[in-house]
């Protein structure tokens, strides 16, 4: 019963470094999402995907890139890390389909990222 799996759980980066946050789901969900959550704040949508090969920007896409080559995987790439990207990153998935708006989102446990 894995659900949505995110790796790594914690990471410290230096300013200017790059890294990829991994997200994989085993529920055969079409829709996948990346959010960031700053301390004491709500979730901000970074990117989302409605299926393999299709991605779209959310509210705060600057400084990030994504790809969706398979249904299962939706990695998030940080290029040239900046202190403002210190946050908790959550990946989520939902069944999607014709009425995507009535499907619950399942979240991974998050990646806690600090950039110093």
């Amino acid at each position: 019963n894995a659900g949505v799996t995110q790796t790594p759980k914690f990471r410290i980066l230096k300013i200017g470094q790059s890294m990829t946050l991994q997200c994989t789901q085993d529920m055969n969900h079409n829709y996948m999402y990346w959010y960031r959550q700053d301390p004491g704040m709500g979730l901000k949508l970074i990117y989302y995907s409605v299926g393999a090969g299709i991605t779209d920007k959310g509210e705060v896409p600057n400084g990030y890139n994504v790809s969706r080559s398979t249904t299962e995987d939706f990695p998030l790439r940080l290029e040239l890390a900046a202190p403002s990207q210190t946050s908790v990153y959550f990946c989520a998935s939902s069944r999607g389909g014709g009425q995507a708006y009535n499907q619950p989102q399942h979240f991974g446990d998050g990646t806690r990222l600090s950039i110093l």
């Binding site: 709500g42 989302y48 959310g58 619950p104 989102q105 446990d109």
Partner: protein, 107 residues
């Protein structure tokens, strides 16, 4: 545009009731409600669709008024386990979450 939640925080004693409100400036197809415990991922509670329907989860229920573009979450006879931050999410093509309402239930 993000939905607006109120209140920002509420403190209850066990057994008391609370209402959390969520409103949007845009037409809504649906409203999601999630609860997040400290240091954990958000957990799905319920989805409400157009039609003013109400749904329930344990002693937590919600309503959705699509004309007013508002939803309310009702927590009755609150338990210690209800403590956490509650988020509403509104979905058109993507999902936007409110800033959250921190609920603390004390013995």
């Amino acid at each position: 545009q993000q939905p607006v939640q109120s209140p920002q925080a509420v403190i209850l004693r066990e057994g008391e009731d609370a209402v959390i409100n969520c409103s949007s400036s845009k037409a809504l197809y649906s409203v999601h409600w999630y609860r997040q415990k400290h240091g954990e991922a958000p957990v799905f509670l319920m989805i409400l669709l157009k039609g003013g329907e109400q749904k329930g989860h344990e002693k937590i229920s919600a309503s959705f008024n699509e004309k007013k573009q508002q939803s309310s979450l009702y927590l009755t006879a609150s338990q210690l386990s209800y403590s956490g931050t509650y988020f509403c999410g509104t979905e058109n093509n993507d999902m936007r979450f409110g800033a959250g309402t921190r609920l603390t239930v004390k013995p």
